[in-house]
């Protein structure tokens, strides 16, 4: 279809009454692409770290996520077991094969059954990490990779996300800067922004949670308050 490509680009240029961009125009574009500029940044996310985490939690709850704040990683298994038991959900977890999650002492004090892998048909509960949180809207940012299969974010009925409080940024723009620095090359195959559990209002504008993705989104914020867990 290179003929189509040629013709479409030629029509665009004809309509813009020019040929290909001249060298200086191309250079200006390269500069704009190479040094991305942020648009206006809403003031509400410009906060000190403590208030920023509070804003993240408040915004996430506003969009029907539930949030648990724990002092350190050692508390995660009990917190998750309590959350699941409180909703009468099975303690059977499909976990992302992520070293940070593997380091959690799952079998101490809980009867949780933990396996690893991508999301498949009958998975009820998944546990993943997030690369970052965005306080502005209570949004989680998840990157795909061998340690983070994306299907875990969408297939199970309940998605539990463990996030370090230090990873909660004010804005999406800060997270893009962090992602570029962390990956140092092309973006991961998938970057997922997740703002609350799945929903629809397609039938008579009635808002219902759990359309096709998870019915429940539970966020465990690890605050690292206890130096022992630092």
């Amino acid at each position: 279809m290179s003929e189509a490509r040629t013709q479409i680009l030629a029509t665009i240029r004809g309509s813009l009454k020019r040929g290909s961009l001249p060298a200086e125009g191309q250079a200006a574009l390269d500069q704009r692409l190479g040094q991305p500029r942020s648009g206006p940044i809403p003031a509400r996310s410009q906060l000190d770290p403590v208030a920023r985490i509070d804003l993240f939690v408040g915004e996430a709850e506003r969009v029907d996520a539930t949030v648990d704040r724990v002092a350190g990683a050692a508390e995660i298994p009990t917190a998750i077991a309590t959350y699941l038991a409180g909703r009468n959900l099975p303690g059977i977890i499909k976990m992302a094969p992520d070293p940070a999650l593997r380091a959690i002492p799952w079998s101490e004090n809980t009867a949780l059954s933990v396996t690893e892998g991508p999301g498949v048909g009958d998975d009820m509960v998944s546990v993943t990490t997030a690369f970052a949180g965005v306080a502005e809207t209570g949004t989680l940012v998840l990157l795909s990779g061998p340690e983070a299969p994306t299907t875990l974010n969408f297939v199970p009925d309940t998605h539990i996300v463990v996030i370090d409080a230090g990873c909660i940024a004010g804005t999406y723009e800060q997270v893009w800067t962090e992602i570029r620095a962390a990956v140092g090359g092309p973006l991961p195959r998938t970057v997922n922004w997740i703002t609350g559990p799945s929903r629809t209002a397609d039938i008579e504008q009635t808002l219902l949670l759990g359309a096709h993705g998870p019915r429940r989104l539970h966020i465990v914020v690890v605050e690292n308050r206890d130096p022992e867990n630092g």
């Binding site: 961009l21 692409l33 648009g39 061998p146 195959r189 997922n192």
Partner: protein
């Protein structure tokens, strides 16, 4: 059981032998409108819409003091993109290839359909899951796949419902907005034969859970996942798809092949630019601060990945848009399909989306549709507006929709497509307007006569020549002198 009014179904007949996707029923706009106004189910649905979306948008805007600045920034990004569209498309294409994906170009709907079918055939696909795509509607991809032995399965709940009912969408973001839950229940009872016939389907929750369970297995069976794109990011070769249901993510992460269909104006320079536009998109569309799922996908599965598609294709569609650049309708290419202009339009809120007769409805549809399928077939649309200006006032991209509707009306007049009665009326008015003394005499006499005739009641229930007005409301009788004579009095005799 409420009566179901038969609806025009532009989806039914792809126009043969042209690049056009669907046959428009816009020529029957007057009949469509009368049918819509008499349809009580539809009127109930439109009343729900009128109270829902605009109020939620208002609340979201109230929570975001910088909203007007965000609108300016979003508009400026698209203004810049359109001036450099060729270069950004080339950059996007190069990055997708770097990421291991393939890019295809389609001049019109027919080329796009053939490209998609070709990809499906290459992998021996039997079913294709689809997340809602207006471009998919524009090119009528479902019919094409069905006619060639590939089953398309819509996964957005609203789109799934209307696929089962063989109807076109009636709204950009809420395709089944025109239906009641009773109508949805009737459809599910008829189509989902695997469930007990006597089950209760009264609650929306039950309907949703039934659709969820039916579609679950379809996601896993599908060979190809077809999505649209809200944006294409030139910097990274990423495709941005936004949903609330999560259906686009299941559609693009489970099948072996992910195919994206996007039109040329969807490209933006950087991730920051995409972010700026996302800040106004959901607020304008549903009044959410951000949609639930915003997904940036960049190519197929990488080494070591445990899931994701093996192959990744992006089809870039023109279908008349490159010719809109630089002309009267250039600014329409800034549209991000949020649906705000539909939700705030007095005409859309009275007649719904189907009356417009093609894929796009509301003010944006009235401007865009004649560009895509020609003014001759869609001449009524530019007149389906009171030019009240609300659409431009709330458009996140500040598109001057009323100005463009006037452009179409002028073109219609210039090419003599305006009805003879309107043309004669305009001529009569122009004749009088050029002769002020005669104009004053004519209007003064008419007002005096009407004033005298209507003095007793103060209004007219019926009046010849203005039956369209008096059918639904009274016409107030004129009182006192005309505007021109009042003006003359106040300004001491100078007019």
């Amino acid at each position: 059981m409420p009566p179901t009014t038969p609806r025009p179904s532009p989806r039914a007949t792809p126009a043969a032998g042209t690049g056009d996707a669907l046959e428009s029923t816009t020529r029957a706009f007057d009949a469509n409108t009368r049918r819509a106004l008499a349809d009580t189910n539809l009127q109930d649905a439109l009343a729900r819409l009128s109270h829902g979306f605009p109020a939620r948008r208002r609340d979201a805007v109230a929570r975001m003091p910088e909203f007007e600045q965000l609108r300016d920034a979003a508009r400026d990004i698209k203004v810049h993109v359109l001036e450099n569209l060729d270069a950004y498309l080339e950059r996007f294409e190069a990055r997708v290839k770097d990421n291991g994906g393939q890019v295809h170009w389609a001049r019109d709907a027919a080329e796009a359909r053939d490209l998609i079918l070709g990809i499906c055939r290459d992998v021996g696909a039997r079913t294709v899951t689809k997340s809602k795509s207006m471009i998919g509607e524009e090119i009528a991809i479902n019919e094409h796949l069905e006619n060639n032995g590939v089953e398309p399965v819509e996964t957005d709940l609203g789109e799934y419902i209307i696929q089962l009912r063989h109807e076109p969408p009636s709204h950009l973001i809420a395709p089944a907005i025109h239906l009641s839950k009773t109508q949805v229940a009737e459809t599910f009872r008829k189509v989902h034969e695997q469930f007990p016939a006597e089950r209760s389907l009264e609650e929306p929750r039950v309907l949703l859970d039934e659709a969820r369970s039916v579609l679950r297995s379809r996601y896993f069976e599908a060979d190809v996942g077809l999505t649209g794109a809200n944006m294409l990011v030139a910097e990274t070769g990423s495709v941005v798809v936004v949903t609330n249901e999560g259906n686009a993510d299941l559609t693009q992460s489970l099948p072996r092949v992910h195919v994206v269909i996007a039109s040329i104006e969807k490209v933006v320079p950087t991730l920051e630019d995409a972010t700026a536009i996302l800040r106004v998109l959901a607020r304008s569309a549903t009044g959410q601060e951000m949609s639930v799922y915003t997904t940036f996908s960049s190519g197929p599965r990488r080494p070591g990945d445990l899931d994701g598609p093996d192959a990744y294709h992006v089809i870039i569609l023109d279908n008349g848009r490159s010719k809109m650049l630089g002309g009267d309708f250039h600014e329409m290419l800034r549209c991000i399909r949020c649906g705000a202009c539909l939700n705030h339009c007095p005409v859309y809120k009275s007649i719904g989306g189907h009356a417009y007769g093609w894929v796009y409805s509301g003010p944006m549809g009235a401007v865009l549709t004649p560009n895509l399928i020609g003014l001759e077939d869609t001449g009524k649309l530019p007149n389906a507006s009171t030019l009240c200006g609300k659409c431009e006032e709330i458009c996140p991209m500040r598109i001057p929709l009323p100005k463009m509707l006037r452009h179409w009306r002028e073109q219609q007049f210039a090419t003599r497509q305006t009805p003879a009665t309107s043309r004669a009326g305009m001529k009569l008015w122009a004749f009088l307007a050029r002769r002020p003394a005669l104009y004053r005499l004519a209007t003064g006499t008419a007002m005096a006569v009407l004033g005298m005739l209507g003095r007793r009641r103060g209004r007219f229930r019926t009046l010849p020549m203005v039956g369209g007005w008096t059918a639904a409301r009274d016409l107030p009788a004129p009182q006192g002198p005309t505007f021109s004579s009042l003006w003359k009095q106040r300004n001491g005799g100078t007019s």
